[in-house]
């Protein structure tokens, strides 16, 4: 019990201390923050831009931008939301340069549709899981960037809606709307791609 309490306190306290140290130019704090966020930040950028090489480049740019702006960062703000907002802004700037039309909020009809494909029923559990992840990952990757954005922040980064609103710089109501539309878009994509079958590959359930 006490250990759990101590562990739950370690996160924010340790994070706050590292951020404060980084503001003073401490390189150990930089290494600690990099270690803390390396997987999550890389995953987030990869979900947004989808190209590993671009995600790597943006990952580096994000930390350079953090180093540049950390002294102006307001410690009362949520560091995680600030960090992801920095990464997101860089990714959006990049995407805007290469495909400006993809950043607009699509209408409900704007979600890409697919021709149905047949899939052989998986045999082994490992294959089932891989198949499910592969289907879901592919469908997620085909969504417009503003939907991928909100889905990965909510389900993979497990951010609260308020934190997502801070990252996106939008009101809470907009976050909810995007979240609902992105889930509906994802489900529609899966249903269209795998009609009449379990689109999560192995779940004992079908869409009504």
């Amino acid at each position: 019990m006490m250990l759990e309490a101590a562990m739950s306190w370690e996160g924010p306290v340790g994070l706050e201390a590292e951020v404060a140290q980084l503001r003073r130019g401490d390189l150990d704090a930089l290494a600690a923050l990099l270690a803390r966020y390396q997987n999550r930040l890389y995953r987030y950028l990869l979900r947004l831009v989808r190209q590993p090489a671009t995600a790597e480049d943006l990952f580096q740019q994000t930390w350079l931008r953090v180093a540049e702006r950390i002294r102006r960062y307001d410690p009362r703000r949520n560091f995680e939301a600030w960090l992801f907002a920095v990464a997101r802004n860089l990714a959006i700037d990049h995407l805007r340069k290469i495909q400006p039309e993809s950043l607009d909020e699509p209408s409900d009809q704007g979600i890409p549709r697919f021709e149905p494909v047949s899939a052989a029923p998986p045999v082994l559990d490992g294959i089932v899981v891989q198949e499910r992840n592969s289907r879901l990952g592919a469908a997620l990757g085909e969504l417009p960037v503003i939907y991928r954005d909100v889905l990965t922040l909510r389900f993979e980064e497990e951010m609260k809606l308020e934190e997502i609103a801070e990252v996106l710089g939008t009101p809470l109501s907009t976050v909810k709307t995007r979240l609902r539309r992105s889930l509906e878009g994802l489900r529609r994509t899966l249903e269209t791609r795998y009609p009449g079958e379990d689109w999560l590959g192995g779940m004992e359930r079908t869409i009504r």
């Binding site: 390396q38 890389y42 990869l46 580096q60």
Partner: protein, 157 residues
């Protein structure tokens, strides 16, 4: 829109844990009585669970170390820049203070015992401008030489 249709609209957000407490309670009450909405909610839940279980792609080997090195270099460069700005401000203030404070002394000395050294010193403002310019040009040249030397050292490092 009737209750059933309204609840159906909320099911995806309920599975995402994005409803307010009163909305959650309303959804819970409804799906307790409605088999269709229960099945629909389970579908949304399985989709949400699938998203939460997606594998996390790992950053390539070396990326974190490269990023750490580049960022550390930038932090050091910015720290040095801040230090240089601080030194420059100090030098400016010190230079002006020294210039203004030393001028009466020079005038007193040169106008009295050492007046023969510079007969032109009767034009006070010309002397002041010349003296100030000499101090600042000397200081500027020294600062430029120091900056060039540091840049060369950083390039070699």
């Amino acid at each position: 829109m009737n209750e059933h249709a309204e609840i159906r609209e909320l099911l995806s957000l309920a599975a995402a844990g994005a409803l307010r407490r009163e909305e959650e309670e309303r959804v819970a009450r409804h799906i307790h009585e409605c088999a269709e909405c229960t099945a629909e909610f389970e579908n949304w839940q399985s989709l949400a669970a699938g998203l939460r279980r997606l594998p996390t792609p790992q950053p390539p080997a070396g990326l974190v170390e490269r990023t750490r090195a580049r960022t550390a270099w930038q932090l050091a460069a910015e720290g040095e820049q801040r230090w240089n700005h601080g030194v420059l401000i100090f030098l400016v203030l010190f230079g002006w203070t020294l210039t203004l404070a030393s001028w009466p002394v020079v005038r007193l000395v040169s106008g009295g015992l050492l007046g023969w050294l510079d007969p032109g010193f009767e034009h006070t403002w010309i002397g002041l401008v010349g003296y100030t310019a000499l101090v600042w040009v000397t200081g500027g040249v020294a600062a430029a030489m120091l900056a060039l030397r540091r840049r060369r050292e950083r390039r070699l490092a």
